[in-house]
Structure formats: C-alpha cells, structure tokens
Symmetry: D2
Subunit: 354 residues, 4 copies
C-alpha cells in the first residue's frame, strides 16, 4: 500500500546500502574505532566547519536524546523544551527515566520563543523557593520541530543568547535535520547550528540510513568518558562500522543534503496539490511533513488506500493528519496520493473542505 | 519575630515531647520494630477503621511521596496530579529522580476535577501513539491541597471511582491532613479517606511532631518488601522509636485532631480580622493556610515585623502572601498580626486594599 | 591484518546482507511491527518449540542484559552471577546504572555451580539481617560463558531447579548462543534452554548479523508493557525491519546453526594446531573462543602480524590471550595464524612454551 | 531485658534531649537555616579546624552514604571499599539504587590496605578493556570499621596519598566516629581526618543523638546545589532544628567526645571480663563493639537473658556475636552481662571456651 506514514518506512538510501555491501567482509575493530567511523566523524566535522568537534555515533533518536541530556545535566537539573517537544511527549518518559524533569514552556507551532524563555528563567531565579525546585539545566529544541517548522538564524541566535546569559547549554534534536537544511525557506546552515548550540545530532534514521544518529559537540565539549557512558546506557554497538559506513556515505559528495532535497521537492508538490484541492493546512510547514485537516469520513476511506499518520482531533468531524515525504518519495507516489484524495473526496459526492 | 511563615516553625507539641522524654532511656530495638512503633501503628489502624492496614513510619513528606510513588508505579508509569501538586513543583524533582514522569492536569484552586481526569485518561488510551508515551499509573492528590482547599466526600468518591475504572491506585498526600480533618467545612473523615484511596499518609511534621509521616496502605497492599525498599532509599531510621513514640502520642486521646482544631480556630480568627479589614483573599481556604493579596509596599513594611510566605505575584503592585496557623498558634499572635497589618497599612496614610 | 580479535570483526553473513538488500525499498511500518519482524519471531518460536513465547528484537548485548534484568527485577533485588559474568565486569556498570546490584558468586571456568548457588541462597535467607541486604531476584548465566565453556543439560537443569525452589527467574545471556549450540561437546538444544529458563537471548551480533539480539520469554512471560519499556530505555529501533529481516534470514533454513558450525570447525582446527605446537591452554573451551598462554616476547611480535585479544596476565613473563573464530573464519586464516605463531616463536631461537 | 544489641538502643543523651526541650517553642525557619543549625555547623568547623568547611546535617547513615557518594561520583564511576564495607553489604543496595557499582577490595579486619588499593588502581588503568568497565571514582572507608577496628594516622595518610595520586576523593563513613576518636589506641584526631579526606560524616545517631549525621566537606568542596540534591533525595528535614539543636549540643563543651569515652571505658571493662573468662575474641577491637566467639548452646541460653547481635558463623557449633557499648552503657550493665555469661556457661556444667 502507498505510504506517507513517516520518513522511516524504507530501508537505506541505495548508495548507503551499497557501501555496507562493499565493506561487509573487511575485518574491522569494534565500538566505533574502525576507519569508517573515523572517516565519518572527520567528514561531519568538515561539514560543520568545526575541526575540533567531538562526534559520536548512536543508534536512534530517543536513545540519543536521553544520553546527551542525562550526561550534560547535573542531577538536580531538568531540560526546558516546548510543550510539544519529542522528549516531553513521545519518548515514553526516557528523560525522566534518567532522573531528570522535562520543563515544558508554551509552544508556537512547535517552537520555543526566546523572550518567553528569558522571562521564564528570570522568574525561576526570582522565586524564593527555587532551591526546592528543579533547576533549568539545558534548553532542548528540535529543528525541524515535531510540526515540521523551522527556526530562523535570528531566532536560534536569540535562544542561544538567552542560554549563554544563563550559562545553560543549548541542545538541538536534529532527527530530521537534513530536511530542515534542505528547505527552501531556511537561512540556517549546518555551521550556523554548530556555532549556536552546545550539542546537536544529525539524524540518520529518517534521512537515508537504516539506523544511526551523529551527535556533535562542537567545541570538544563532550561529557567526560562519554564512550563509557554510552556503553553503560546500552548504546554502544559492537559493530560500530554499521554506523560509520553509513555516515561516511551520507557525508560523501554531499549525499545527506542532496537526498534531503528530494523530500522537500516532493513535499512542495504535495502542498501544491493539497492547496489546489483546498484542503486546509493545520499549519505552514516548510519541510517534509505536511499537516492537513481531513473530514473524518474521507479520512476513513483514505485509510484503505494510503498509510498516513493520525495527528490530533480538529474539532467536530475533522482530524489533523500528517503526510510525510522522504528521500525515497517519488513523483508517482505523490500523484497517487492526490488521486486517492480525489477518489475518497468525491466517492459519495461529499466535499471534504471544512 | 512573630511568624506565620509556616506550620513547621515550632518543635513538637508538648505532649509529644513529653513522651519522648519519658521513654528516652528505655532500651528498644531499631528500625521501627519497637513496641511504641507497633502501638502507634495499631492506633492508626483503629483511627482509620482499617484493622488490616499496613502502616509505615517515615521522616518527611517529600521522602514519603517519592518512596510511595516509586514503589507503587511500574517503571513506564507516571503519576497524574494537579499542576500545582507538591510533587510537580516543590520537591526538587524527587519523583523524576526516581524515574517517573509527573503528568500534570489543570488545577481548580489546587484540586483535580474527576471528569477532567476521566476525559484525560480516555484520551490517553485512544491516542494511537500511547505505547510511546508515559502510562498513567497513579493519581496523586493532596488534602488539604497546597492552597488549603479540601475535597468533599463526593468529589473524592468520584475521583476514586475514575481510578477504579482505570485500575490505577489513588494516593493522597496528607502532609496537613489533621487540618483538613479538623476543618469546619469538611465532610471527609479519616475512615472515609482510608476507604476511598489505595495509599495515603498522615502528616506529622506539620501537625505536632518534630518529624514523621505515617503511610497507610488500607488493605494490606503495601509494596512487597517495603521495609527493605525504605532502607534502600535511605529512609529507614535506626532509632525508629523517634517516630513511634511521637505517633503513639498523637494518636492517643485523639490528640492529632484536637491540636489540629486550634489551627482551624486561629485561622478563622485570622480570616475574620482580614475580612474586617477588607483584604482581598486569593481564594477561599477552609483550613489553616490563608492566602491574601497585599499591596507590595505594605508587604515590604510588614516583612520587618512578621514572617510570612511569598506565594505568587498578583498583578501590578500586588502579591499573594500566605499566613499559616498551626497547633501552636495563639490568639495573642493573631491579634499581633492584625495590629502589624494595621500599622503597616496606615503608617504612611496609604490603603492596602487592591 | 589477519584478525582473530573477536567474532564481531566482519559485517553480516552474506545471506543476511542479501535479504537486507532485497527488501530495502519495501515500505514497512516501524518499531518491529513489520511482517519481517513478525516472521522472525514466529521462526524463533518454532526453533525453540515454544509456540507461545514472547519474542522481542533488540540491538546489542549490554542493552539486552540491562533491559531484561531491570524489567524482571523488583527494585530491591539484584542479579546473581558468576564473578566473571559479563554483567559483573564488562558492561560499564549498566546493571547498577539501572539500580540493581550484581551479586557475584565464585566462578568455575566461567560457570556457576548449582550447589554453591543453593547454599548461598540458603545462607542469605538465614542471615538475620537479610532485610537490610539486596535480595537475590534472578540468576544470570552466559552460555557459552565468557571463557567459551558450556553448561551440560544436567548442570543447567540443576541450576533451573534451584531457581524454581527459590522462585527466582533464570536468565541466560546467549551473546554467542549459536556457537554453544553448534559445539560438538554439548547436549543442550535450543528447546532445552527455552524449557529450563525464564528468559534468554539469541545473539545475532556475534553470529552473522550486523546487529541484533532476540530476547525470548518462553511462556508468554514478558514484563508488562515491555515495548514501552524498551522505548523508554532508548532501545526501540524506528526501522525495526533492520532486526526483523536479519533474524528472519538467520532462522530460515537453519542458517543460524549452520554458520555457527563453521566457527566450531575453525576453532577445532586452531586447537589442533596449537596443541601440536605445545601451547598451553588456559582452559578447555569447546566453542569458538580459544584461550592460550603466550610468552610475552612472542606475544609482542605476534601483535605485529595478527590481531587477537589480551585476556589476563598469567604469571611472570606470560599472558593469556584469546583467539576467536566466527562464521566468517576460513581455513586459510587459521593456517596463516599458525604460520605467524611459528615465525614469532622461532624468530630469535626462543621457545614459547611456558 | 539487658541489651548490648547495638549502640542505638537508647534515645538521646540527656543533655541533647534537654536542649530539644528548652528550644521547643521557639519559632524557627525550616530546612536547616535556623540559628541552631548554623551554630552547630560553626562548632563542627571549629572542632575540625576547618573554618571553610561545608557542613550539612542529614538524618541517617545509609541516607548520608548514598547522597554523598552519588553526588560526588560521575555517572560511570563506582566506589571502592573493603568487601565488608557497610555500603557493600548492609544498605540494601542504596548505592546501586543511585546508579553506582560498589567495587569491593579484600578486607583486613574490616580495613582497606593502601598498597592493595594502589595495585588494584594500577591494574584497572592497565586493563585494555577498562573503558568498558566501571571507573573507580571514590574510595570509601569506615572509621571505626564495621568490625570496630581503626586506621592509624599513617595508614589513613597512605590511603589518602593513593587517592591523591589517582585524583579520586576519599570519603569516610563516621557512623561511630566518636568511639573511634575516644579510643585509647588511636592517634587520629578530627582535624587529622578533615585534613586527609575529601568528605566524611560525624555520626550522631549512634553517639548521643536521636537521629542525625553531620557531613563535612573540609575544603568548601560540597557538590554544587547540594541542598537541592538533598531535597531531591527526600532527605531535607522541614524542621531542620531537630538536627541543629542536637549537633549544637553535642559540639558544646566537648560533649561528643566526652560521652564517647564512656562507651570505650565500658567496652574495656567488658573486654577485661571476657578475657578473664577466656572467651576467644574474633578480632581485637579498640572501640565500643566487641566480637566474641560463643559456643552455640550457650548463645541460645544467653539470648533469653541479654540482647546481642548475631555476627557470623564461626565453624561447627560456634558463632561470632557482637556486644556493643554506647554512651549510655553503665558499669552495672556490664557486670550483669558477665553474670549472665557465667550463668549460661555453667548452668549445665559445660565450658563455653571453643
């Protein structure tokens, strides 16, 4: 069945898979010490224009968030994020499992606001009881956000500046970072991000890899003995090559950005088709995820033809759904989606536009 | 200086202290196995009309909340509470430190609403992604709440019924339980509470003891090996007698309720005086804590004469403050407070009433 | 360079890799719900003769041990193992990180002794202070052990019986299970193991996969909400297919056992060669890992030609080293190892045999 | 019944209790900010000759060990101790509950040996796999040890020097510190201890207080935000005065040392009596705990007349038992113990001397 359910429905990008096949029978040392891992780290440093960055390769996003946050926070500190942040809602309490509170602030299309953040931090320290409360120890944001939205360079710089004023690190969840960097509506580059935050990860799983996320500490600021801490948290792959070969391929000949562009183009095509059909958008997303309001009866019929994601209820009789494009999405698939929408919309002579 | 800062500003009620002195040189076994602990537990069972209850004696409120919640929850479960719940705000993240998320719902003068709770639980299980989220594993409420408000018998029964429907335990933080039971505006008794919840504690620290909270599991439903778990969490007193003797005294001749009544009477007196002077109340509290709005300049002047608690800002130029009465508060102290209010109010010819 | 450093130096077995390539562009749902995962689980159930087993796919061994042990233990319980157990020494404290003590017993060539275990458990419960101690909540053993040794069916049955008497689960770390099952000197089958223990895992990483361990709870006895707990611990792969396709391939046409046999044959060849050259064995291993004592000067020379593992010091001037064979080891590689041993042994006219 | 079961069988020393009574009705702020706490801290600094020490007051020994160790260790570090260390055996896994492994070394009458410690640390860092292992992050010792034995100044200086060489803190559990300082056979003073270690606690519970342990960080080296971390771990008393008043009394007019001397004198008397009766000692203890071997039948008879502690089996038919003296033990009680020994020994014409 046609699927726009997520950006992790396929395996690896063919070029990534090819390199796994080509290198398969080489005998390599374990635990991310092999030359593919080292080469991948070097290429990531170059792409970030951070020659001294510490780079580590982990397996998945929740794992990466939990480990980075736990090892950068002191035990009495929590992590500040938008209320819709992945760490607050959809990681099954991984952050709390590591002992830290998630401190949610209001979200604006998935984004944090720098001035609200500054105000909240000021209020915290002015509260006479704050020594009986969880200290804000880090700011977490996702780019793109869970709603596909993006921070501008200026917005990120402002948040970074608030963090600097309060001496707390800024960490960016880049599970879909490629799609953010490839968006036509962004002015943020990878070196910008590396310059403005204290830690971030470059998502592989959703952008061409079978698995894998590359954590970057731009200024040699990885937590002490980070490798042992990764091991202790069950996240150190014996065959680290699986991650090294993939990221080495993704950061060769700009592959990571190039394949991300396809997702953006297909999302633009999807948007155009949805607009032409007058489907209301839940919000304006400049990346690979599109959030549209469907009438519930159409949604039910569409489910039989296409996989997509339930997002949230949208008032009586309507639902927000998500269609996600990826590096693998084809023009034909987008056209088939439009056809399916048309078929389900008119099948019983109804209109779907709320 | 005159203090209405809290209900823990004095030591122990004289009768409690007297028993500590009288029993001091008896040689007793440790770890809450002595005959005073056993007697205290028996008297608490009787007061709760729960002859089979498991009763344990702990030292403080945050400790008690953290241990009860952690040991009753499964690792992937969190605790639902009102957003203003003590466990959510003022325990320095003790619950998250034990690995569990606090799941805040809207508060209504510090209280949870049964129907909102039911709706939230229904939504949770209908969310297709709920297996990637923290499961609600317990409902926590405080009685009196952090705002001094009380649940009616009917309100508590409704919440208890929601919990039963979802098969999650109901736990009541009774740090100030005595003051709730002694209020003139309550219809909830100790046996009611024991009948409607799965665990609760009877606060000693704020109601006549030097330290100590008595946890009650009304239906022999203490977590397995609870004593060892208390020890493992650093909360098992070697000289458990310190807790046993105090609770034995507090539950002899109805002392716990009798001394609580004094706090209520003094709070009523305070309320009357404040009303006569037209100070606006932040909310209507039927227990020992009163929340009043002061004009900031008066507040500053009053600080020099009386200790009280900053609560929160109340719009431009005004602040919510708390005056707390306790078993030890005297009529003379309340009168002195009124006099101090009058002096600070009129000192510069200003009126304080917002 | 020639490597006998470990059994994870290559990528995936070619047949496993082929299936990853063939299925790469299928659109599949995430989180181990795709049909390859389901097929793999079904085949594993069949191989274990446990039609009702709960099967879960995880990424690595330390991760698997930490999650299974933490979720099966109560918070005041620890895990009993041989002092040389992987969980006690080489997992960077992953078990303690999850809050549980590792309770080491004496090891006998890496193995636990059933009678010693029984005696230790009896002593624990007879100790009058045991409520102030960590309760034994599980027995952990590895098969093959960290020393390549194996339990007989009778030995495992005895340990299983002790566990049953004390009502604590028996868990088997099968990181190298294939090599244990394929050994010529074992009478233990996969169904035997499934019948005698409460949880175990079938190691993929060291036996033909790029990554992946299959956890089996033979009697539908997985911990409640195990999937959410996996997610919470950062171990739920978005592209679960990576694990599903690999285990589906490994359990098709008996591939897992067939490729394990190669490791055993090559280890036998290695053993024969070492014996002919009179190298002393540290112990008698019937599986793919061989532990030999080398004179230190020879060891240093050999390091320049072959990768192998330092194991431990063996008295003055000598060292125990490990040579590991795997599914990928060839006859030519073993012959090259022997040649390298001969060259380093005679290069300066020395004899290496201690 | 006569009890030599422990040094926590009575309540508080009368002078300590008197101060609690005298100060009971003062209104004081909470959380160890009152003037008694501040005075107690100042007196402890003076007694330690550490004017800049950070001093904190906690409730019990296991709590203190768990909090100090957890907050001083990095997450991948464990604590090194003698195998008989309290943290390794009798704290129900409190250290592991906080995420850290206990790393036991051989014990010598309850003591660590500096050279063994140095050798073990050297071996750890030479092990090529040590990045996959728990790092030693602190050395823990108890003084007096669990066996009542004492470190000499020279022995402690040597251990301190090893710790300095490896840059890991030295922490001393002083649950019975008073009895160690008051021993006739020690050359270690409180200022010596403060100078040689990085953290230690002065035990109150077993030396005259109802509860309470005073943690000292001699060089202003308390972990950041230690008060919030205490709160987060459920160990911050609302009525901190309970601890402050007690320690203020104990460190007024040298009371802590003076009352400790009584325990030593009574233990000496006990020792003399036991020697005269030819009871074999399990080891030579210069402090308040005496370990003696009893023939099992005598032990059973003695149990009916005296409370004492089972320690461990001592070969066929014999048991090591502990008799503990305290600040409260009287000459009459020791004489009664001797009489009870004589009566049980000769009752049936048997001799008890193994």
């Amino acid at each position: 069945m046609l699927s726009f359910a997520s950006d992790y429905t396929e395996g690896a990008h063919p070029q990534v898979l090819r390199r796994l096949v080509e290198t398969n029978m080489e005998q390599l040392p374990g635990y991310c010490t092999d030359h593919y891992c080292i080469s991948a780290m070097e290429k990531i440093r170059a792409a970030c224009q951070c020659p001294e960055a510490d780079v580590y390769l982990l397996t998945g996003g929740t794992q990466t968030n939990a480990i980075v946050i736990d090892t950068m926070l002191d035990s009495c500190e929590g992590v500040v994020c938008a209320a819709t942040g992945h760490v607050n809602i959809h990681e099954a309490g991984a952050i709390e499992h590591s002992g830290h509170k998630v401190l949610p602030l209001p979200e604006h299309q998935g984004k944090l606001d720098a001035e609200e953040l500054r105000g909240w931090l000021a209020d915290f320290y002015q509260d006479e009881n704050h020594e009986h409360m969880v200290f804000p120890g880090m700011v977490y944001l996702s780019h793109p956000t869970e709603y596909g939205t993006l921070y501008t360079r200026e917005e990120l710089a402002q948040i970074s500046s608030v963090c600097a004023d309060y001496r707390i690190p800024l960490y960016i969840d880049g599970a879909r970072l490629g799609y953010g960097l490839a968006s036509r509506e962004t002015d943020l580059t990878l070196p910008d991000i590396a310059g403005l935050c204290d830690a971030f990860y470059i998502g592989g799983t959703k952008v061409g890899a079978l698995c894998g996320e590359a954590v970057v500490f731009p200024r040699m600021n990885a937590p002490a003995r980070f490798m042992t801490k990764i091991k202790q948290r069950g996240a150190l792959l014996a065959k680290g090559r699986l991650l090294g070969v993939q990221f080495d391929a993704l950061f060769t000949d700009n592959l990571y950005l190039e394949i991300s562009k396809n997702a953006i183009e297909m999302a633009e095509l999807m948007k155009k088709g949805l607009r032409e059909r007058n489907y209301p958008f839940h919000l304006e997303s400049p990346t690979n995820q599109q959030f549209v309001v469907l009438e519930n009866r159409q949604m039910e019929r569409l489910k039989e033809m296409v996989d997509f994601s339930f997002w949230e209820k949208a008032g009586p009789g309507h639902t927000v759904v998500r269609f996600a494009a990826s590096w693998a999405t084809t023009r034909e698939q987008v056209e088939a989606l439009m056809k399916a929408l048309d078929q389900t919309s008119t099948q019983f002579g109804e209109t779907c536009q709320g």
